[in-house]
Symmetry: C2
Subunit: 122 residues, 2 copies
């Protein structure tokens, strides 16, 4: 019972910080298996970029390979940063058959993935 | 000697893909120590946001906490995405006394950091 006020306050903070119709940045980083050939990786890069033309819920999409010299990349080599109008649009994208087909293409070459979504504040 | 043509081709590919004056997205993700208090984390959030007003090389800066339900966040809770005009501007930022002071404030509460820089392509 003594935790209830703290829990309520936390829930209120979370509710006020997250807005159902606020845009979401969907950031995905990959590392590929050693066995994945450059041609396979290039095919994945192109297939990911092509999703922008297939799934209208993707408001923006950009990507690149790591050039940081800080040595804090944990072996991840690729990042894609996309924007969705809201959580519903992101869900449509994640469930979309073209996204699912991309995941199927990706999986055999994928060593590890990092995914982070946030509602941008300044 | 047999590797030289491969190395040269690789270098040419890298040189053509990277442009010295292209903008850079600098993406930083943190997880905090269990001992870090909410007040300490909030102080770090505010100090990071305040860098935008202190270091003119930061062309844009936004941040948020993870709301992904994909369970691929590896325990990281915060992300900051910033933009710099080029690699030189990013270096000025990293070496800047105000950034260094921020790192000093951050370090005692930091469990782990992920840093990824890329030149955005579509």
């Amino acid at each position: 019972m003594r935790l209830l006020p703290i829990f309520t306050a936390l829930l209120m903070t979370m509710t006020s910080a997250l807005s159902a119709d606020a845009p979401i940045r969907h950031v995905v980083s990959f590392k590929f298996k050693k066995e994945a050939s450059p041609a396979e990786v290039q095919k994945i890069e192109e297939a990911f970029a092509a999703l922008k033309g297939k799934i209208p819920q993707i408001a923006s999409l950009e990507w690149g390979t790591n050039i940081s010299g800080e040595n804090l990349d944990k072996g991840f080599t690729h990042m894609w940063a996309s924007t969705f109008a809201d959580a519903a649009a992101l869900k449509v994208y994640l469930d979309h058959p073209d996204h699912q087909a991309f995941v199927k293409l990706l999986k055999p070459s994928l060593e590890d993935a990092f995914v982070f979504d946030f509602q941008p504040r300044k």
